[in-house]
């Protein structure tokens, strides 16, 4: 749980809140066509309850936020560039939303598959 000092008290930001922001930012990134469960258990849970944080895993390491992301990329895009874009986009959106400096937000991108819409 991230804690931000405030003169009136403390603000706590949960992992899930950050995960939702990251999830939305990922799906808005060009080349990312889906997020996928990290493992079988999460996949099964997802089949029962729709989870707005699917494919995003958030943890804190000292002052940094570490976000692990499991994505499906559109076939025919340059995967490296897409992975860079999604990491940058998430860092930017999370920084803006909860005011953690982007330098302290680490995004690990796991490309779990490709979606083939068109074959050339």
């Amino acid at each position: 749980m991230e804690q931000v000092e405030n003169p009136l008290g403390n603000i706590y930001i949960s992992y899930r809140a950050i995960a939702s922001i990251a999830h939305k930012a990922a799906l808005e990134t060009y080349g990312v066509v889906g997020l996928t469960a990290k493992n079988l258990a999460e996949g099964l849970a997802q089949a029962i309850v729709k989870d707005p944080t699917l494919g995003v895993d958030v943890e804190y390491e000292e002052k940094s936020v570490v976000i692990n992301l499991f994505i499906i990329v559109e076939y025919g895009t340059r995967i490296k560039s897409v992975a860079n874009s999604v990491a940058n986009n998430i860092r930017f959106k999370v920084e803006k939303a909860i005011d953690i400096p982007a330098n302290n937000i680490l995004v690990n991108v796991h490309v779990r598959g490709l979606r083939i819409s068109d074959t050339d």
Partner: protein
């Protein structure tokens, strides 16, 4: 009806207006698109949602298209489908950044529509644009509107509309480019962050330039010169900074003039482009400044040309080739760094420019890491700078608020005893450094350095990269802005006025000394002129001047 007209249409009924493009022609157009995109690269880069110049959309798009052109550069292929496929392949392999990836997808769709076609006519062009749009939209789950995707969509709608009205590829292309331009202008309405920043979408603008470059090639318009425009004199780029000069650019001629009648900018540029290159036109309060590079034998031609139409007030000719040679021969003296002994305190400073590095070195810094406003060093770079020093007592001066965190990261990652003094500017860093005693008590020195941070005020003078209003100060793009301790306090037309306005914001009677570090984009004449004005305004203060060599900031000023 005239005889000529009826004769022409009688000879080639229906076919006369049909323009088709083959592979070689498409190649030429796309090359033109790349050149035009490159000509306008900086404009696209400057469309950034942050107020500091660190955007690179234009660069990414240029590199992506460059990779595409590399695939087809030498091909003799005339089949338009095959050439398009190679372009798409090259763009994919070279896609850089978000905008580059989208650009490569657009080409991929475009090429798919042309597959197996020898030539492209109007109908095929419109179909290929639609396919490009569809392919691009497939690459994202939740498309954000107000981006390059929106521009691709809008121009396709116009293409389809145009095709339903006429069958002329050139006319349709022109309407497509116009629609793209209009769509770019609408992007701030769709994407609030663009509106806040007062810019249009950079990727969309890049796509527009690529298409416009293709159209310009189709119409035989020049691609190398930027569109004619006048900029404030303070914003003119000093080409001396670029150490590579093209052949026939041996002399730099700068002319200040007052035209006898209103200046026809396009004609003016056009005539000058026959004389030289790197033409820039700046506008001052009541005069213009022309900047041009010419071959030796033509070094007086620009003066003659301007004399004919204006009153010339000042001329400056420089032999830049000779300057270059001298620069190469006189290497700047190396920056001697302090060599700490085991147990001593070593200071690591982040410096944005050569001159400032030298000053840091002269004050006993053990390592310097290059970095500043737009080039923040990584934690790794900072770590590497001191991990091999023989002492375990390290102090880091980040000298920029964006670097403080990286410095703290380095401090946590190291096994040495590392303290970060949160200096937010060069003057703060220098002030802190004055407290250094390599053999002193680590904790005491840190305490002294931290309190020294508060002793001085820092002024920074730079050029605004776009229109903005912050803290009630209105800023126009290209005007000179002054930041006092990181806050925008002044915005004026000239460097001189901004410097003086900035100093007025400080209680100068409580201060004793003004130190100016001038950047790498300003001439010594300008510096001397401004220093003279400041001396006049503050005769009781001690004034020091140093060549800082920093980019972006014309002046960094320390007021103590």
């Amino acid at each position: 009806m005239s005889e000529k007209h009826s004769k022409a249409s009688g000879l080639q009924p229906g076919l006369k207006d049909e323009v088709v493009l083959d592979g070689q022609e498409l190649k030429n157009l796309v090359e033109g698109g790349l050149i035009w995109l490159r000509t306008n690269q900086q404009t696209v880069n400057s469309l950034n949602v942050f107020p500091v110049p660190d955007g690179d959309t234009g660069t990414n798009m240029v590199l992506t298209m460059q990779a595409a052109i590399n695939e087809i550069f030498k091909t003799p292929e005339r089949n338009v489908g095959k050439v398009a496929r190679d372009i798409a392949q090259g763009a994919l392999m070279g896609a850089r950044g978000n905008s580059g990836v989208i650009l490569s997808q657009l080409w991929r769709g475009f090429a798919r529509a042309l597959d197996n076609f020898k030539v492209m006519d109007a109908q095929l062009f419109v179909r290929a644009l639609a396919e490009a749009r569809d392919t691009a939209y497939k690459g994202v789950v939740r498309p954000v509107e107000g981006t390059i995707l929106t521009v691709a969509k809008d121009l396709t709608i116009e293409a389809e509309k145009a095709f339903s009205e006429e069958n002329d590829l050139e006319v349709i292309f022109e309407r497509v480019v116009r629609a793209a331009g209009e769509s770019v202008e609408r992007t701030p309405e769709l994407l609030p962050i663009l509106k806040q920043a007062g810019v249009v979408d950079s990727g969309g603008k890049g796509l527009f330039y690529m298409l416009e470059g293709m159209l310009r090639t189709l119409n035989n318009l020049p691609l190398e010169v930027q569109e004619t425009f006048i900029q404030p004199i303070a914003q003119m780029i000093d080409f001396d900074e670029h150490l590579d000069i093209e052949p026939d650019q041996d002399y730099e001629v700068v002319i200040d003039f007052q035209p006898k009648k209103p200046l026809e900018v396009e004609k003016f540029y056009d005539s000058l482009s026959h004389i030289g290159t790197s033409i820039q036109l700046g506008e001052g309060d009541d005069y213009y400044r022309l900047h041009i590079h010419v071959p030796e034998e033509k070094r007086y031609s620009p003066i003659d040309f301007v004399m004919d139409m204006a009153r010339v007030t000042k001329v400056h000719i420089e032999n830049i080739k000779d300057q270059m040679l001298r620069k190469e021969n006189s290497d700047p003296p190396g920056t001697e760094l302090a060599k700490p002994e085991p147990g001593q305190i070593a200071v690591i400073a982040v410096s944005p420019g050569e001159g400032i590095s030298k000053i840091f070195a002269s004050l006993g810094v053990a390592a310097i890491v290059e970095g500043g406003q737009t080039m923040n060093p990584s934690i790794k770079e900072l770590l590497e700078s001191f991990e091999n020093l023989p002492t375990d007592n390290i102090i880091i001066l980040p000298n920029n608020k964006n670097i403080i965190l990286a410095a703290q990261g380095a401090s946590q990652a190291s096994t040495k005893r590392v303290a970060v003094i949160p200096s937010k500017s060069i003057p703060q860093g220098l002030n802190a450094l004055l407290q250094l005693d390599p053999d002193g008590n680590f904790d005491e020195i840190i305490k002294k350095m931290n309190s020294a941070l508060l002793d001085s005020d820092t002024g920074e003078i730079t050029i605004a990269t776009r229109d903005v209003e912050i803290d009630g100060v209105k800023v126009k793009q290209g005007s000179v802005i002054g930041l006092l301790n990181g806050r925008l306090v002044a915005s004026q037309k000239t460097l001189e006025k901004t410097c003086l306005a900035l100093l007025k914001k400080i209680k100068m009677d409580e201060k004793e000394r003004i130190t100016l570090f001038y950047g790498n984009q300003i001439s010594e004449d300008e510096v001397n002129n401004i220093v003279e004005k400041i001396t006049k305004a503050y005769p009781a203060h001690e004034i020091e001047i140093h060549a800082g060599g920093q980019p972006h900031y014309q002046f960094i000023i320390s007021i103590e």
